[in-house]
């Protein structure tokens, strides 16, 4: 195929009744890279994933995955992708092994190969002791892992993970992230949606921030952070220190006048201002006692707040959750 991109979407639009889930989304992921789709609930992440995995036709716009059109070549494309959705979509009445074997059979791997893959993956996801237990006896974390294993059964070149770490304990989460990194190292392209910013930070080569059905920013984690400005200095003064004097002392180092929130002075540092050492020297000269001082690089949380004016994680749950069509349309 002519495209170097394993995932390439242009102008995707999808509406549910009056609700515009996607209002013209462009996405690109080079083969072998991880694209992070970052946004709050209801931003349109899941809708984008559903379109790219052939589950949903877009109202307009087009997308190619692994060189195949998601609408025209949907059938051929399905053997090239793996999907782990927001739900741990496992059959509770089958054992772990039966679940994966079924998926292998449906990828047309054949009986023997399906069985072999099931065993391999159960081992890799540390489910080998639960192989012959019904999935309904699994913990939430185990189900998630089984679900991800199902997405990997056919070792597809492109995988889609819709909030894969939701509800996982820290250990399972670390384990899962490692597995994803392993797949990527082997050349798999991954599209990952997430609300947790450190996850996108850790895994994604490039990040598209999506809000209200639109990509509002894209770039590498560093590029996005640069958009919020550089480093921030946070100073907690000792009791009895003159706040005003401290602020005056720091003004020459700052991009803008330092603000004081909850007793902590915060200022965006000017480039080449001398960093934390210069700040300490100036505060000392001004006679301000320092209780605590830290230089903070912006997190993706800061990026999100800067871009949307609100935090990413405390968003109310809305449209993104797959509700009955009637409710979505209402």
């Amino acid at each position: 195929m002519s495209s170097d991109y394993a995932i390439e979407a242009e102008g995707l639009v999808k509406s549910y009744g009056d609700v515009k889930a996607l209002a013209g989304v462009d996405l690109r992921a080079p083969a072998g890279s991880v694209l992070g789709l970052l946004g709050p609930n209801g931003a349109g992440k899941t809708t984008a994933v559903r379109i790219l995995t052939t589950l949903l036709p877009p109202d307009s716009g087009s997308a190619r995955v692994a060189g195949l059109d998601v609408v025209a070549d949907a059938t051929a494309l399905r053997s090239q992708i793996g999907l782990a959705g927001q739900y741990a979509a496992v059959d509770e009445n089958l054992t772990g092994a039966e679940n994966l074997e079924m998926v292998g059979r449906l990828y047309h791997l054949g009986k023997a190969k399906s069985r072999e893959r099931a065993r391999e993956l159960l081992e890799r996801f540390e489910l080998d002791e639960a192989t012959d237990r019904l999935a309904r006896t699994y913990s939430g974390g185990m189900r998630r892992r089984l679900d991800l294993a199902a997405a990997l059964v056919a070792a597809p070149p492109v995988i889609f993970l819709d909030e894969p770490t939701t509800g996982l304990d820290p250990r399972s989460r670390a384990n899962l992230l490692e597995t994803i990194e392993g797949r990527v190292a082997e050349g798999t392209t991954v599209l990952l949606t997430t609300q947790t910013l450190d996850e996108a930070d850790r895994l994604a080569d490039s990040i598209s921030v999506i809000d209200h059905g639109k990509v509002i920013a894209e770039g590498t984690s560093d590029e996005l952070k640069a958009r919020v400005g550089g480093e921030r200095l946070e100073v907690t003064l000792t009791e009895g220190s003159q706040q005003e004097q401290a602020i005056e002392a720091l003004v020459p180092l700052a991009e803008e006048r330092p603000a004081c929130e909850n007793g902590i002075l915060k200022l965006p540092m000017r480039d080449g201002a001398g960093g934390i050492a210069e700040a300490v020297r100036r505060l000392d000269q001004a006679g301000a006692g320092i209780e605590d001082i830290a230089l903070r690089r912006p997190t993706l949380d800061d990026v999100f707040i800067a871009l949307t004016g609100r935090a990413a994680e405390h968003e109310q749950r809305e449209g993104e959750e797959r509700e009955p069509a009637e409710e979505v349309a209402a």
């Binding site: 549910y16 559903r50 995995t53 052939t54 589950l55 949903l56 036709p57 059938t75 051929a76 399905r78 053997s79 992708i81 793996g82 999907l83 959705g85 927001q86 739900y87 741990a88 979509a89 496992v90 059959d91 509770e92 009445n93 089958l94 039966e98 079924m102 998926v103 059979r105 449906l106 990828y107 047309h108 019904l134 199902a150 797959r322 009955p324 069509a325 979505v328």
Partner: protein, 259 residues
């Protein structure tokens, strides 16, 4: 493999998956085994003595068994309603649709596994029927023809339950919707009592009711009674129901999954 062979293989893999659930879910297993037996015994011993039969029937057990098996066939698809509704809500349908399987495989796998369950119910019910005094007045071919008609009619209702499972908001309501339609149809028919004991309007309804047609066809085949048009009309009804319900369910499936 050809596309058709893949479609058949996908369907069988999914049908097997549906069936694997039954012995693992005791409530479902009871629905297909204990419940039909309970109905046979209740009807035979509670209503048996109170119902006046047309002269061609030896006793109520002979009259009842074809009717109660027909009813059981119609209800047999309820697990399809439950299963589809759950699969939809738990994201399994999404998983299946993201896999390179035949588009028809999910619904075909569901309805085909119902056939196996209905066959199990027939065997159990007729076994109990024989124990409580039912006697076949038929050769093996006639018995098998009856079984074939029963399974075909049950298959038609599986598509009805598929439609319910894809329409209702929960598996409980899908099941309830199905029962609300099927219960009156089975009782306002010749399945349990002779229609000529009913009030005129209801009697006319019962005589036109496909449940009467199929019940009378099974009676004709199994009890050596005149069939009139019932046997082939049973096939016509069943095929007609499938031709209407299957496309409705398929279209509902596409809509339900395209959100």
């Amino acid at each position: 493999m050809s596309a058709l062979q893949y479609a058949a293989s996908d369907t069988l893999v999914l049908a097997k998956r549906n069936l694997a659930r039954i012995p693992r879910a005791p409530d479902l297993l009871i629905s297909y085994t204990v419940q039909p037996v309970m109905f046979v015994l209740l009807f035979v011993y509670v209503f048996g003595g109170a119902i006046e039969l047309p002269p061609q029937f030896g006793d109520y057990t002979d009259f009842l068994m074809p009717g109660i098996v027909v009813q059981t066939m119609a209800f047999g698809g309820f697990v399809t309603a439950i299963g589809l509704s759950e699969d939809l809500r738990k994201g399994l349908i999404d998983r299946f649709r993201s896999l390179p399987i035949a588009r028809s495989a999910v619904l075909a796998g569901r309805t085909i596994s119902d056939i196996a369950l209905n066959l199990l119910s027939i065997v159990i019910m007729m076994g109990v029927g024989l124990l409580v005094g039912f006697t076949f007045e038929a050769n093996v071919l006639e018995i098998l023809a009856g079984v074939g008609i029963l399974l075909l009619f049950g298959y038609a209702w599986s598509w009805f339950f598929a439609l319910m499972g894809l329409t209702a908001s929960s598996s409980e309501s899908a099941q309830a919707m199905g029962f609300i339609v099927i219960f009156p149809l089975t009782f306002a028919s010749s399945a349990f009592v002779p229609p000529d004991s009913m009030p005129a309007g209801l009697q006319a309804f019962a005589e036109a009711n496909p449940f009467s047609t199929v019940t009378d066809a099974i009676r004709a085949l199994w009890l050596d009674l005149p069939a009139h048009t019932d046997v082939w009309m049973s096939v016509v009804w069943s095929v007609g129901l499938i031709l209407v319900l299957a496309p409705l369910a398929a279209s509902r499936y596409r809509k339900a999954t395209h959100r």
